[in-house]
Symmetry: C2
Subunit: 392 residues, 2 copies
C-alpha cells in the first residue's frame, strides 16, 4: 500500500520509558495540513491534550508537525503545561514552523513528572532522521501495552487523480473512547478544507472509535488527529466527498477494531450488532452495555453461550425495549428467541465460541429501526495480570 505523499516520520528512544524501545515519534508534513482533532471527554485532561486543542484552534486547523511520546502521559504533573509547550516550541524552531502548528501527544503513566530535556535533546536527531518511509516505525514508537502496531491504509481513485490515506493508532487498555481514543493519527494527501475535514472526522469517529471498548475506562490523553496536506495535488470535487469520507471512515474503523482486538489480555475479538432498537443512539447504548459487561466478557472468554448475561446487560442500558420480543444469536446460532431459550447444541456452540472472533447479534422485533455495531474483546486473567503490575 502506498503511503500518502508529503509526510515524513522519525522515531527514537529518548529514555522516557524504562525499556529501551522507541518512545518518541515525530510526524511532519512538508505542506502544512488542514487538521481536525477530537480529544478525551474525561474531566481530567493531560497537558498535551489541552495545548493541542488550543493550537488546533489558534492555527485555524493548520498543522505542520505532531510530537508523540510514549511512557509518560504528562498528566497531573507540576510541569505538565511547560513540558508540552517547550516540546512544541523546540520542534517548531527546528522545523521553522509557527508554534501553534505543532500538536503534542503523550501516553503512559499519569502523575509522574516528564523530563522535557529528554524530548528536546532528542528532537534534533528526530528532525535529522525524518523519512517518508518511517510510518511503520512511528506506529511502533507510540505503543504502550499494545502487543502489535495498529495501522490501516486506503487509496481513493478520484476523477482528478488518486489520493492515499494512512492511519496509525495505539491503545489496548483504559479504552472506552468517547469522541476519541487513546492516540490515533490519520494522514491523507488529499486536499480537503478544514471545515469539511472536521465534519468527516466527527461523523467517522461516531462509527469507529466511539464504538469500541476494552474496559470502559476513558483515558486522560485520548487524541485522534486527521491531517490532510494536499500533497497529491488532488482535491475531491463535492460529489466525491462522500467517497472520500467513506475511505477515511473505513481506515478509522479498521484502526478502532485493531484496538479492541489487541485489548489487554484479550484472546477474542467480539462484534456486537443491535437491530430494532428505538433509535440508533439506543442501539449504541445497548451494544455498549453488553460490551462493558464483565459477565458477558468473561463468559466469552470461557466459550460459555450464556445468553442470559447478554439479555441482562442489554436490560441495564436504560433503553426501553421488550425482552419478550428479543432474539439473540451467537456465532450465527439462535440462542434466545422472543426472550426465551432457543433449542441449540451447547456443545457445538461452545466449540464455535473457541474461535478468535465472536459474533453477538441482538434483534428486537418491534417498530424500532435503531441499529449499531460495537467492538470489544473478552476479559481474561491476562487483563488482571497486566493491570495489577503496570507500574512495577
Amino acid at each position: 500500500m502506498n503511503l500518502p505523499l508529503g509526510f515524513a516520520y522519525a522515531t527514537t528512544y529518548a529514555g522516557i520509558r524504562a525499556v529501551e524501545k522507541d518512545d518518541l515519534a515525530l510526524i511532519v508534513t512538508g505542506l502544512p495540513a488542514t487538521a481536525a482533532g477530537v480529544f478525551t471527554q474525561n474531566r481530567v485532561q493531560a497537558a498535551p491534550v489541552r495545548l493541542g486543542r488550543r493550537h488546533l484552534h489558534s492555527s485555524k486547523g493548520l498543522i505542520g508537525a505532531v510530537v508523540i511520546n510514549a511512557g509518560n502521559a504528562n498528566c497531573a504533573t507540576r510541569t505538565g503545561d511547560a513540558v508540552a509547550l517547550t516540546t512544541c516550541k523546540s520542534a517548531a524552531k527546528l522545523l521553522r514552523l509557527p508554534v501553534n502548528q505543532v500538536v503534542p501527544s503523550s501516553t503512559g503513566v499519569i502523575g509522574v513528572e516528564l523530563d522535557v530535556r529528554k524530548i528536546t535533546d532528542a528532537l534534533p536527531r528526530l528532525v535529522a532522521g525524518l523519512n517518508p518511509d518511517g510510518f511503520e516505525q512511528a506506529s511502533r514508537a507510540i505503543m504502550t501495552t499494545d502487543l502489535v502496531p495498529k495501522t490501516a491504509f486506503a487509496e481513493v481513485k478520484l476523477r482528478r487523480g488518486t489520493v492515499r490515506i494512512a492511519g496509525m493508532t495505539k491503545g489496548s487498555g483504559m479504552i472506552q473512547p468517547l469522541m476519541a481514543t487513546t492516540l490515533g493519527y490519520v494522514m491523507t494527501d488529499a486536499n480537503i478544507p478544514a471545515a469539511p475535514l472536521r465534519a468527516m472526522l466527527k461523523r467517522g469517529v461516531e462509527r469507529s472509535y466511539n464504538r469500541i471498548s476494552v474496559d470502559g475506562d476513558t483515558s486522560t490523553n485520548d487524541t485522534l488527529l486527521l491531517l490532510a496536506n494536499g500533497a497529491s495535488g488532488v482535491r475531491p470535487d463535492p460529489k466525491e466527498m462522500p467517497m472520500m469520507e467513506a475511505a477515511i471512515t473505513d481506515v478509522m474503523e479498521s484502526l478502532a477494531q485493531q484496538i479492541a482486538r489487541d485489548g489487554e489480555g484479550a484472546t477474542k475479538f467480539i462484534t456486537i450488532t443491535i437491530t430494532g432498537a428505538p433509535s440508533n443512539e439506543g442501539a449504541a447504548k445497548m451494544a455498549r452495555a453488553i460490551a462493558n459487561s464483565p459477565l458477558v466478557k468473561t463468559a466469552i472468554a470461557g466459550s460459555d453461550p450464556n445468553w442470559g448475561r447478554i439479555l441482562s446487560a442489554a436490560g441495564n442500558a436504560g433503553v426501553a425495549f421488550d425482552p419478550a420480543r428479543t432474539d439473540i444469536h451467537m456465532q450465527g446460532v439462535a440462542v434466545c428467541k422472543s426472550g426465551l431459550a432457543a433449542p441449540f447444541s451447547e456443545q457445538e456452540l461452545k466449540k464455535k465460541l473457541d474461535a478468535p472472533d465472536c459474533d453477538i447479534r441482538v434483534a428486537v422485533k418491534g417498530k424500532g429501526k435503531g441499529e449499531a455495531r460495537f467492538w470489544t474483546c473478552d476479559l481474561t486473567e491476562g487483563y488482571i495480570r497486566i493491570n495489577a503490575s503496570y507500574r512495577t
Copy 2:
C-alpha cells in the same frame, strides 16, 4: 444477638441447584408484617420480581411469607410467571394466607426452565420444619457464588420496650444494585406502619445497597424486602422513628458491605470516600466511577498506589470538579495534593495496600459540600475464573 420475635424460617435441598446444598428457604411471620420492597431497575425483570411487586401492591404492603430459591433465576423462561404464581399459591394454601401475602424470590442462572414441582414438593416439609431459630440456615440457603453467609443484627431500646432487627442478604457478582441488591431480607419485630416503612427503606437503600458495586452489572432479580411484624408489641413513637431508621439503615449498610467484601474473586475490601463534590449525587457518581474502574480495581489487587487511575476514573464520572484542587489519600497516606503527585514512600504504601481493607479518599477543595461513601472490592484473576465457567 436476639432475633426479632414472631418470625420462623425453614430450608431444604429441593434439587434446584446441581450441588446438594439447601436451595429453598421459607420465611414466615405469624402476624402479617407491614412490608416495603425495592426491586431491580433492569429492563429485563425476572418473573418473581414482577409478581412480588404486584403482591406488595395489591396486599397494600402486608406480607406473611417469602419463598426464596437459589440455583435458578426463573428469568427469561417460558413458564416463569406460572412458576412464580404456583409457588405463591402453594405456600399460601399451606400457610392459610391470601396468595398476595406471599412474595417469591429467585436467584441463579437466567434462561433455564425452573421445574415448579421441585418447589411444591418441598414446601410441605418446609412448612412442617419452620423454626424461629432457622435464620442462619436460611441465610446460607440463598447463597449462590457467595463464599460466606451475610447477616446483620441490631437491637433498639425504645421507651415502650426493645425491638430487634435481623437482616440476611446474598450476592457477590452481577453487583451494582440500583435501588436494591440481588436478594436481601430485613426483619424487625417493631410495629411500623407501611408508609413510614417504605420511606425508611427508600432512604436506607440510598445509603447502603446503592453504594456498593462488584462488577457494575445489575441483576434481573434484585430484591430487598423490609418486614415489620410488630411481634414485640412495641411501636416507636414519632420521636423515636429516626433512631429506628438509623438502626435499620445500619443493618442494611452492614449487609451491603458484606456483599462488596465477598465480591467474586475479591481479596480486598475497598471503601471510597468523596468530599467537596458539587452535590451528594455528584459525589456518589464520582465514587461509583472509581469503584467501577477495572484499572483502579486491578491496581488495588496488585497493591499499586497508582493514584493517576483514581483521578482519571473520577474524571469519567461526568461531574464538574477541578482536578487541580483535588487531594487523594490511600490508606491515610497523601498520594496526590492539588492534582499533583505528593511525596510518599512507594514501598511503604505498597506494604500498607497489602492489607485486606483499602481506604481511598478523594477530597475536592472547592465550594462544594457533596459527600458520598461507596464500597467495592478489588478485581482479581479469581473473578475471571469464577465467571468464565459459572454454568459449566
